[in-house]
Amino acid sequence: MSISPKNVEEMARLARISIDSEDIPSYSEQLSKILSFMNQMQSIDTETIEPLAHPIDDVNPIRADIVTEKDTRQNAHKYASHLLDDFYTVPQVID
């Protein structure tokens, strides 16, 4: 199993990272090496094992339904760029 140049392009697209076309072969090579290293995992049978998502499972945290953050603009906008009338802006998006 390896990560082909086409796979690299697909992942780069999913992850929204532009990669110069001349760099794609080297990514493909490096990622393939990493993948074959990861494939060592396939050496053991884990059929009956439950996946573990959280290392410790004795917490059940919740917060009360109370508004604690009021006028959030002063804080968050102090260092934000690309604001227009308190809106964040991006190049026009067409649905």
Binding site: I3, N7, V8, E10, M11, A12, L14, A15, R16, I17, S18, I19, Y27, Q30, L31, K33, I34, L35, F37, M38, N39, Q40, M41, Q42, S43, I44, T46, I49, E50, P51, L52, A53, H54, P55, I56, D58, V59, P61, R63, N75, A76, K78, Y79, A80, S81, H82, Y88, V90, P91, Q92, V93
Partner: protein, 489 residues
């Protein structure tokens, strides 16, 4: 005054309380030292002189009023992964080169509440992804014992700053060894607490189910002091454990007699570097002399922990890095031509190679068709790793082995071979996979470079872990060694 830098934190505290010097004087001493020496070590990304002196003056006031806590007036540094209100937080990345958080990380807030004095923000691998500090956008932190060698990573700046005595205490974060490995490489002490012990709020996420903040210092006693300040439940972090704050110094001098120490046989295979093997043998003998019982144990999944760790860490990283999109904060490319161009170029320009590699790898491991074979498989092996420890801790109280398979390597050794770099994490990642507390201590020297010993304990056994470490340091002096290198201008 110049000698204070070789004092323990308790001694510094004594100096402050007895008015031998003020916190402002102490802070100035360290700031001066940073100015002269950090040109060699590159430990700091940001030094905040003014803010530090302000905090020191406030601490002096508290001391005068008799309101000093355990670390009031003591200088320290934060890894640049912890958000600091009104002081920039870069996470070692161009992406956040100009990011200023409107809040403090809980760890930072607790240090402020304790009256501590933050000298600055330390260097680190970009977004904590790296084992050598070479992925930092700000250049690598250099190992004070040999500037041509790496500091280790990702908390390399904190390790070099403590080792070069630029600061007595520092915070670090550990996702797969990022506190312990640089501690070992630089000859200092570092603790990765139990997952959930120290709040992750405001500590920029890399692998959220693995990340844990912790203290770095010159000795275990100092670690206990800083841990007492930063640990504790935080309502802002859902994975924070409900246990309250604790005084980790209280049981420091407890005897380790009859404690059972496990030696995982997988950590001492024939591949282990013979000098490191020798140093470990010595250290284990020393601990035996202190009254502990030594027992062989097995952690059967050891050979799979590194690939498992890299699948999980990369997968979580790929998702955690998605918020850096150039829209609300962080690097934004010039003149984006449409929304996708804004994303793709901002991220391509803002992230370094290793971060990109991990994002792509993690995206792959989670993508349709590969999830079961990689991400879910890794989660299953993660359970096996946890089970290994559960069995081991039925027989023993602690597990001991080397922190790293080698001493600090030369810069650029693994730049083009990520897999070899990943393999240097073989002993450290398991504690993150299982969520266990794990300590690294200096235990000897090989080729003039420090070698670290790693002690792992059961969940929330930090106190016991620290008392074992303290007992070891009481009977050895590896932790008091200081580099013979000429540092600074």
């Amino acid at each position: 005054m110049h000698d204070v830098i070789f004092n323990t934190v308790s001694a510094l505290k004594e100096g402050l309380l007895s008015k031998k010097y003020s916190s402002v004087e102490l802070t100035t001493e360290y700031l001066d030292r940073i100015t002269t020496i950090d040109t060699s070590t590159n430990s700091f990304i940001t030094v905040c002189e003014e803010e530090a002196l302000r905090q020191a003056a406030r601490a002096d006031e508290l001391i005068k009023q008799g309101k000093a806590g355990i670390l009031t007036g003591i200088p320290y540094a934060n890894k640049d992964i912890f958000c600091t209100k009104n002081i920039r937080t870069t996470c070692g990345s161009k992406m956040l080169d100009s990011f200023i958080a409107p809040y403090n990380a809980t760890v930072v807030e607790k240090c402020i509440d304790a009256g501590m004095v933050m000298l600055g923000k330390t260097n680190m691998d970009e977004f904590a992804m790296g084992s050598s500090n070479e992925t930092s956008f700000y250049g690598r932190a250099k190992n004070p014992w040999d500037l041509t060698r790496v500091s280790g990573g990702s908390s390399g700046g904190s390790a070099t700053a403590v080792a070069a005595r630029l600061v007595p205490l520092a915070t670090g974060s550990d996702t797969g060894g990022s506190i312990r490995q640089p501690s070992a490489f630089c000859g200092i002490s570092g603790l990765k607490p139990t997952y959930g012990r120290v709040s992750r709020y405001g500590m920029i996420a890399f692998g959220s189910s693995l990340d844990q903040g912790g203290p770095m210092a010159n000795c275990v006693e100092d670690l206990a002091l800083l841990l007492s300040v930063i640990a504790g439940h935080d309502r802002k972090d859902s994975t924070s454990n409900k246990r309250g704050t604790e005084d980790f110094c209280r049981h420091l001098s407890k005897s380790i007699k009859n404690k059972v120490i496990g030696i995982p046989k997988e950590y001492f295979s024939n591949d282990l570097n013979p000098e490191i093997q020798l140093i470990m043998d010595e250290a284990i003998k020393q601990i035996e002399k202190l009254g502990a019982e030594i027992k062989d144990v097995s952690l059967p999944s050891t050979s799979l922990v590194v690939p498992t760790y890299y699948v999980l860490a990369s997968a979580e990283c790929s998702s955690n890095m998605s918020r850096y999109d150039g829209v609300r904060f962080g690097h934004r490319c010039k003149d984006p031509n449409g929304i996708d161009d804004l994303y793709e170029r901002s991220r391509a320009e803002g992230f370094g190679d290793e971060v990109k590699r991990r994002i792509l790898m993690g995206t792959y491991a989670l993508s349709s068709g590969y999830y079961d074979a990689y991400y879910e498989k890794a989660q299953k092996i993660r359970r096996l790793v946890k089970n290994d420890y559960t069995s081991a801790f039925k027989e023993v109280d602690f597990l001991i082995g080397p922190t790293c398979p080698s001493i600090a390597f030369h810069a650029e050794t693994f730049t083009h071979d990520p897999v070899q770099m990943y393999l240097s994490d073989v002993y450290t990642v398991s504690a993150n996979l299982a969520g266990l507390p794990s300590l690294s201590l200096p235990a000897g020297f090989s080729q003039g470079m420090p070698v670290g010993m790693q002690i792992t304990g059961n969940y929330f056994m930090e106190s016991e872990l620290l008392s074992l470490g303290h007992a070891y340091q009481t009977s050895t002096d590896w932790h008091n060694r200081y580099t013979t290198q000429e540092l600074g201008r």
